[in-house]
């Protein structure tokens, strides 16, 4: 009974609520900002998405997106926001895993890690395909 500070489910709920909220707000703001730049520069070009041709080369890799962001390219900034948005629920799983560690709930530490592993495998399989 020496330890008074204990981590409970309600604490975890509060933390996870904040992670999700901040993740969504930050990424949407970045997407919006990138969108304004994109429209300012390319607004009067002709939109053509009838045929699938993938995305422009300069935003198809992580390094390309980062370079594009520093070069202030609208599409790269939008893509950065989207990557952060996709990362938000993944970050939520990481935070739940930490929460379960603090609660010493070994079963759910394992379950959280398994979910992370599946997402990781999915990422690798997308790279190969």
């Amino acid at each position: 009974m020496a330890q008074k500070i204990s981590f409970k489910d309600t604490d975890m709920q509060a933390v996870i609520g904040w992670v999700l909220r901040i993740g969504v707000i930050v990424s949407i703001c970045i997407v919006f900002f990138g969108g304004v730049i994109f429209l300012y520069r390319h607004g009067h070009e002709i939109a053509d998405h009838k045929k699938f041709k993938g995305i422009p080369d300069f935003i198809s890799t992580a390094g390309g997106i980062i370079n594009g962001v520093f070069a202030f390219r609208g599409q790269a900034i939008i893509q950065l926001g989207i990557v952060l948005l996709i990362a938000t629920p993944v970050l939520r799983v990481i935070f739940s895993a930490i929460g379960f560690v603090l609660e010493k709930d070994y079963l759910y530490i394992g379950i959280s890690l398994l979910v992370l592993l599946i997402i990781f495998i999915s990422m690798i399989s997308g790279h190969a395909g």
Binding site: G17, L20, V24, V31, H44, K50, I82, I86, T88, I111
Partner: protein, 278 residues
């Protein structure tokens, strides 16, 4: 059509898609795929990519609120996420090998089923009987109501898990949250109170969509020019939808109107898929 007109049309369309999705409980990205493909003739791969991104935004946004209220069963969500993420990964991988018109037809069928399911009567059920697996996995929990905290148990964990794999595959294949199927599995198989099953489903949708979005991102399905207006429009639409829901208690007739709209869009998808125009 210039980029700026194209963006504005999507922005307005996505707003209403988010609004309808939130009012019917079908989810944000649900109406956006028929809208993009049928009206703006966007390639269905881009539409699926953009829809997935908007699904992550709306589900994470509303999950944030539900989690804090303590209604969401986080352990149940985490456990079932094993099934949904594995399914979503499979769905995203096999999506490449399926002709786009089959994807359109399947999406239409799923849309119609979900619209019908959204009209179901929702009776609040509370199961007290303890079940071996649910106890081992610590899935039995409680949630706050106006009359105090209610304890509930979870039944048929295995059955629910299997349906969740299927829900994940559909989510990865079609770029939807497949919330209707998740809720159905938790409601009728696992016998979870309705409020808990909707919020827990919402909690899982973001992670499920992320598992397939990482595949789509690398395949070039997620185009910034399309995803940007979709995600902003759907999120703002869903936010205003949740505001309306708070103010109107009986949205029964509204649900019917939207169900008809969704069924109409879905039949267009199926028709275009059959004649091979998508």
């Amino acid at each position: 059509m210039s980029v700026i007109v194209f963006t504005l049309i999507i922005l307005v369309g996505a707003y209403f898609a988010g609004l309808i999705g939130s009012l019917t409980g079908l989810g944000g990205g649900f109406v956006i795929i028929p809208l993009l493909t049928l009206l703006l003739h966007v390639d269905i791969h881009y539409a699926i990519g953009a829809s997935l991104v908007s699904v992550i935004a709306t589900s994470s946004g509303s999950a944030a609120a539900y989690v804090k209220e303590g209604i969401t069963n986080m352990r149940l969500g985490m456990f079932l996420e094993i099934a949904t993420t594995a399914g979503a990964m499979t769905g995203a991988i096999i999506a490449v090998y399926i002709p786009t018109n089959y994807i359109a037809i399947l999406l239409g069928v799923i849309l119609i089923c979900s619209a019908i399911m959204s009209l179901r009567k929702k009776a609040e059920q509370v199961l007290k009987q303890q079940n071996g697996w649910a106890t081992k996995l610590k899935l039995n929990s409680s949630y706050p109501t106006a009359n105090g905290t209610v304890n509930y148990s979870v039944s048929k964990v295995g059955g629910g898990f299997v349906v969740m794999i299927f829900a994940g595959v559909l989510s990865g294949l079609l770029g939807i949250g497949s919330g209707a199927l998740k809720v159905l599995a938790m409601d009728s198989i696992m016998r979870i109170p309705f409020k808990v099953s909707t919020t827990t489903s919402n909690f899982m949708i973001g992670v499920t969509a992320a598992a397939s979005a990482v595949v789509y991102l690398q395949r070039g399905y997620i185009d910034p020019g399309i995803s940007m207006p979709v995600v902003i429009g759907v999120l703002v639409g869903a936010l205003s939808g949740s505001k309306i829901l708070v103010h109107t208690q009986s949205s029964g007739w509204l649900r019917w109107v939207f169900a008809v709209v969704v069924v109409f869009l879905a039949s267009q998808l199926i028709y275009n898929g059959i004649i091979g125009r998508i």
